[in-house]
Symmetry: C2
Subunit: 427 residues, 2 copies
């Protein structure tokens, strides 16, 4: 395998035209789409239109004439197509953290309605911290128990003390991917519900929230992020999904989610003093959505939907696996002896769309030295060098060139220079 | 008083240059800045810069290089200057509804920590519904009591069963403004805390959260909206403020707010599994902020700060009172006999920056007929015609011309035409 081989892979890649959808800065190999996706070409013009025409000219009327009021559902229906959910089942609102608070509360209310002895929320010790913080807060507030375990200890936790299993589908540090259908089935067999965080999945790997097999393999609730693989822009609004069987039951039993804001009301413009949740998942909408950021998010989601005629997420997934396989092979072949340990599963079926290595020291500085060379990955404390491969725009030659730079950084020792060790506020 | 007199008032107005900060559509008299403020000229270029340079070119680095990570505090410090709060005491995040959930929970936790018998949340029956829905949800969840009373019944509620008094400073329907310092003092004397919603106050009327008199006149918590008088754009992020005495106590006693997202953590990039709230009000930050909408909001806040050399909010307030006084006088003089009843206090000290009339029927259609004529106010169910006067860009002649149109609509009966009675999704 050499650079020419990688160029040949790119030349044969049926998805290569999708890259034209993005503004990619010259001289940059961007392997951080799992932290902030790149700019879709359509976004700047679209947001300008929203600002000048919809806000500036049409002003308040745009809630009707430009359909601002429908944005949470309209964009939600688009994201639903990417995560195996049905139309009307998913909304865009707030941040992942806030949506998780809603979804986890709803799941706890439902799971414990007839089984108050179920007092445990189980999650992974190395889940993304915001998920753990939200669960910690809810557990504290309600006198429940948050149990953090390693991934292989999860099955032993699926018993009649479990209320909710809360997992991130693809781990932010290691890129390890859970088998969603199996865990759903096992948790349901134990009488518990499952809440999934799709931050590192939506737009990156096929997800089938409704399941493709028996009904017990469907998920219960899910939340996710707009600014990573959905290319929705910095801090793009997040999404929330609930299985229709739960929203139906929430109707009947008044099991609300607690963030009962006016736009989740059944009739917000009647301005009635009592809360009456909207039907279905719309009750997960809370306050007024940030329209400019929503508009950019829609452009980002459209870049992923543009893969549908080319095989959609299945095709993106094949390319993602090929890219990450290649990068693992190249780094291990060319950067050996420099203390990098692969943290991402070699088994592609257990891997998201990223490759992570750990290193006992210097990880932060090595990432900084790479960034100075135009290879942008990121560092995750305490010891992870993380490289995201976004099949929409990452090329095989990018994997080659990134490896080349990594090898040079390690061989030259340039990362030891003081300037690469000065921590920035955001790492 | 005639139209020429109004033009003379505009010619003499020392604030008239501030209007140049905005893109105002030709032929429109915009009296709905209390629902969505107009577009600041700076916003389109600023958001383009964020999209093209910060997102498109610099990508993930912009969290450091463009200071995205500091946006909640940086814009928060600017808003603090407009509401009588100190630097570092106010942050921008989420929506008003979500922030109210945080603030009300924190207030309840603090008020009840040593006095669990305080089980009441008191608010106004005609408070904005989202505030009531959030309080209803919290009361339900915690087995507390939400008592809704009329404004003049509030003093009787200030007793040792009261935990939190939760009020909107300026009522969204009537424009009636509470005396914040007096109510704070009275509630504190009763041992309760006060949470203020400043949605119709921030940028419109002088607010002094820290109080100008004895310490017991200071407020406890406040939230507010970015898209009304702060001109931050559709669905602009909201803000939250907490008195420093409370955040200090929250440190010592682990009285968290429940939306413990990662960006409110003391060290978010250490990715530790346990939540440790940031010092001060930063713990009210939750998830990642929507950067594009934050950038537009900052432009909007700057348009209000631009009044500081011209006398700031005191000068804006003088103009606002003059505008609303004028509009009340003109409508009563020229539109009499058409069933309009003033709902806004005649006493300017009890009035925000809006004028509302009720009408037994036809209110919605009358507002639609006015909108077709280019006079944009709004209708609030069940019977309110609402006109916001934003002293930054509303002229005295606008008050005259709006009255002229209103008179013509009422005299001609054109509002009875069927098309004005077709309800849109957003009213």
């Amino acid at each position: 395998m050499n650079r020419q081989d990688c160029l040949s892979l790119d030349a044969e890649d049926p998805l290569t035209a999708l890259r034209e959808q993005f503004e990619l800065p010259d001289g940059t190999i961007y392997l951080d789409g799992n932290s902030l996706g790149v700019l879709p070409r359509a976004a700047a013009a679209r947001v300008q239109q929203v600002i000048r025409d919809e806000w500036g000219r049409d002003l308040i009327r745009s809630w009707n004439t430009a359909g601002w009021i429908d944005l949470p559902q309209r964009i939600g229906d688009k994201i639903a197509r990417l995560v195996g959910a049905g139309p009307g089942e998913l909304i865009v609102a707030d941040s992942t953290s806030v949506n998780l608070y809603k979804a986890l509360t709803a799941a706890l209310n439902l799971a414990r309605a007839d089984a108050p002895q179920r007092r445990a929320i189980v999650s992974e010790r190395h889940n993304f911290p915001t998920d753990l913080y939200i669960a910690e807060s809810l557990a504290r507030e309600r006198g429940l128990e948050l149990r953090l375990v390693d991934a292989d200890e999860i099955p032993a936790q699926l018993n009649d003390t479990l209320a909710v299993l809360m997992l991130t589908h693809v781990n932010y540090r290691t890129g390890r991917m859970h088998r969603m259908d199996e865990l759903n089935r096992a948790a349901h067999a134990a009488g518990a519900l499952v809440v999934w965080d799709l931050a590192h999945s939506a737009g990156a790997v096929p997800v089938n929230l409704l399941g493709s097999g028996p009904p017990e393999e469907a998920a219960d609730f899910a939340v996710g992020c707009g600014y990573k693989y959905l290319n929705g822009g910095p801090g793009a609004p997040a999404f929330a999904w609930a299985h229709p069987r739960h929203t139906a039951r929430m109707d009947a039993e008044q099991l609300w989610q607690p963030l009962s804001g006016w736009l989740g009301h059944a009739a917000p413009f009647e301005f009635t003093p009592n809360y009456r949740p909207a039907a279905g998942v719309a009750r997960f909408i809370c306050g007024t959505p940030p329209v400019l950021s929503m508009a950019a998010l829609e452009c980002g989601v459209d870049t992923v939907l543009a893969a549908e005629p080319h095989g959609g997420l299945a095709a993106l997934r094949r390319k993602s696996v090929a890219l990450t396989d290649l990068f693992i092979r190249l780094v291990e072949a060319r950067c050996g002896g420099h203390g990098l340990t692969l943290q991402t599963p070699r088994d592609a079926s257990a891997r998201g769309s990223q490759v992570s290595f750990s290193r006992d020291d210097g990880g932060y500085a090595i990432v900084q030295a790479l960034i100075e060379r135009g290879v942008i990955g990121d560092f995750r404390a305490p010891d992870i060098l993380r490289f995201g491969f976004t099949p929409l725009y990452t090329r095989f030659v990018d994997a080659w060139d990134a490896t080349e730079h990594l090898m040079q950084v390690l061989q030259s020792g340039e990362w030891r220079e003081a300037r690469f060790n000065q921590r920035a506020a955001v790492t």
